[in-house]
């Protein structure tokens, strides 16, 4: 009997890793627990009948000890926001996979109560010094409780960057991210997460809903969706998803509301270019920014444009020197506006070796690199000791912000731009990983940053950096 009960833990873990066996494994665990409770109750009744009430009471307590903690956490401690009760009950919860479970359920309970400062301090004060997956999840749940859902989402998503974030931490993050995506109607995000996140009962159901909503061929049929619903919690709230989704409504088009813009005369390239700039400024986006660059290239790269402008300047009474400067300033002004648009909209950098496209590309590259350099210099100064160390969760937040800014900035310029940007990232973040590992003992975060640097170094083909970060990445992470 004891062996069977112990078998539940690997079964729980196995169902998270293999979605095809999720329902069968859940049923097996349910049968084990049902059989155990049934046997215990039968024995208790038998013991009572033969006049051994003390032994019967011991059996009842043993049964309750195996079944009750999890139920009490889910139905009492978390809904009521009792973080201390949740913490202590979690120590007896057989579903826990390690020492991190109390902090995770306590953070859930505290978040339910709005993450009051006292509760947050109580929980975070019990976290290990070294930031790990559970620590990140705890901070994310507390951020959600305090109302910062964007921070919570970003922290939980960052778990995927950590080496071995922990089974419990991954499970909690997986369920939270699934619910968050479902709430935003981000069904594609849910489907994409199948490859990254372990299955939990609710995520497994929501994945079926997402596949169905997106009309993907691998969407499970009605019977399978029923099964997923049966093994998921919150059945009352999720019953509506048992039905097949109606196809998403086609975009509403209110003919009266759509005003057709008068097209500029096709013959006047200058008006077309001015109109493209207005359109791109009114609603910045990669396509409109690229269209504006293309339209202005037609005007400004025309060999006749400059002589015509000089002639016009002379007609307006400007002397030749001033006319020349004015025409140059006009061109520079347009270029600066286009650079601004390209950088703002993260549009791909224009191609072409000469003319306006080349000038815009050069200007945009300079802007992007300047922005990154400022961020890296600030980080480098702080790490070198001039700015002071942050709390470890804030160090992690800074890494996520820098990583996202870097990836967004270099994406428009491709590998060519990243080859110029990477050395700056390498210097600042490389020193950071060393400081985190050696000075602060933050091996997991340091390893995650090193792994990211290694991937970027490979992308740009920086052999020395690949070798260095590859070596550091291979270091054994000491036990906590």
């Amino acid at each position: 009997m004891s062996l069977l009960l112990r078998a539940r833990r690997p079964l729980w873990r196995a169902r998270g890793a293999d979605r095809r066996r999720f329902v069968p494994l859940t049923v097996i665990v349910g049968l084990i627990e049902g059989w155990f409770v049934g046997t215990m109750l039968s024995l208790t009744v038998a013991l009572l009948l033969i006049g051994a009430p003390i032994v019967a009471a011991v059996l009842v307590v043993m049964t309750a000890w195996l079944i009750m903690p999890h139920w009490l956490i889910e139905t009492l401690a978390i809904p009521r926001g009792w973080h201390r009760v949740a913490w202590h009950l979690a120590g007896f919860d057989p579903r826990s996979d390690g020492a991190t479970w109390p902090a995770l359920v306590a953070a859930r309970a505290a978040a339910r109560a709005g993450a009051p400062t006292a509760a947050a301090t109580w929980i975070t004060g019990r976290l290990p010094e070294r930031l790990d997956g559970a620590g990140i999840v705890v901070h994310a749940l507390l951020a959600h409780g305090a109302g910062d859902r964007v921070d919570a989402r970003r922290l939980l998503q960052s778990l995927a960057a950590l080496p071995s974030p922990g089974v419990d931490a991954e499970r909690v993050a997986s369920e939270w991210l699934a619910l968050d995506a479902a709430e935003r109607g981000a069904w594609r995000e849910l489907v994409d997460g199948i490859a990254t996140w372990p299955a939990t009962p609710l995520r497994y159901l929501l994945e079926a809903v997402a596949l169905d909503r997106l009309g993907l061929p691998r969407a499970p049929g009605a019977a399978r969706r029923w099964l997923r619903w049966l093994v998921a919690p919150a059945r009352l709230a999720t019953w509506r998803y048992l039905r097949t989704a109606a196809p998403p409504p086609s975009p509403a088009t209110d003919d009266a509301a759509v005003v057709e813009a008068p097209a500029p005369p096709a013959s006047d390239a200058r008006i077309a270019a001015a109109s493209a700039l207005v359109a791109a400024t009114a609603a910045p986006g990669p396509e409109r920014a690229a269209a504006a660059v293309a339209a202005w290239s037609v005007v400004l790269d025309d060999p006749a444009w400059r002589p015509a402008q000089l002639a016009r300047a002379a007609a307006l009474g400007l002397d030749p020197l001033l006319a020349d400067r004015t025409v140059t300033a006009a061109r520079d002004g347009v270029t600066a506006r286009l650079v601004e648009l390209i950088v703002l909209s993260h549009a791909p950098l224009p191609t072409g070796d000469v003319g306006l496209a080349a000038a815009v590309r050069t200007g945009a590259r300079r802007r992007i690199l300047d922005g990154l350099e400022v961020a890296f210099d600030r980080l480098h100064g702080r790490v070198a000791g001039t700015g002071g160390a942050l709390a470890m969760i804030d160090e992690w937040r800074e890494f996520l912000a820098i990583r996202d800014a870097y990836e967004a900035a270099v994406a428009p310029g491709g590998v060519e731009l990243e080859r110029v940007a990477f050395p700056h990232a390498d210097i600042a973040l490389g020193a950071w990983t060393v400081a985190l590992w050696n000075r602060r003992g933050q091996h997991l975060a340091s390893h995650a940053i090193t792994t990211w640097l290694f991937a970027r170094a490979r992308e740009v083909g920086d052999v020395a950096a690949v070798e260095l970060h590859g070596r550091n990445r291979a270091l054994t992470i000491p036990d906590a």
């Binding site: 109560a113 959600h144 479902a182 109109s275 700039l277 207005v278």
Partner: protein
């Protein structure tokens, strides 16, 4: 840039002479002072905008300066931006999912 298109503020063509520009500016200032007609607004590339005496004077001054006029001519006459395409309609989500499933603040 085009919001302040001085040609649109004054309602003159890009090819207007300095004399035509001055005459139109004086006429608009007079009409604005008397509140005559519908001169209180003009159509810019960003849609209808209020035409004030200050805007009329600033536009006239801008077109009086040959350098500024040359720059204004480059940007003049832009068409209003096309309406944004309708956003793709996402399949509706599960409202309040996290809270209903027992996560986050009550």
């Amino acid at each position: 840039m085009s919001d302040d298109d001085p040609f649109a503020v004054l309602g003159v063509a890009v090819t207007a002479t300095t004399r035509e520009i001055e005459r139109e500016a004086q006429k608009l200032l007079g009409m604005l002072a008397l509140g005559v007609g519908d001169v209180g607004t003009y159509l810019s590339a960003a849609g209808p905008r209020p035409r004030t005496p200050e805007a009329v004077r600033a536009a006239a001054a801008q077109l009086r300066d040959p350098r500024q006029r040359l720059l204004a001519e480059l940007m003049a006459g832009a068409a209003p931006p096309p309406p944004a395409p309708p956003a793709p309609v996402a399949a509706p989500g599960w409202p309040d999912a996290l809270r209903r499933a027992g996560w986050g603040p009550r």
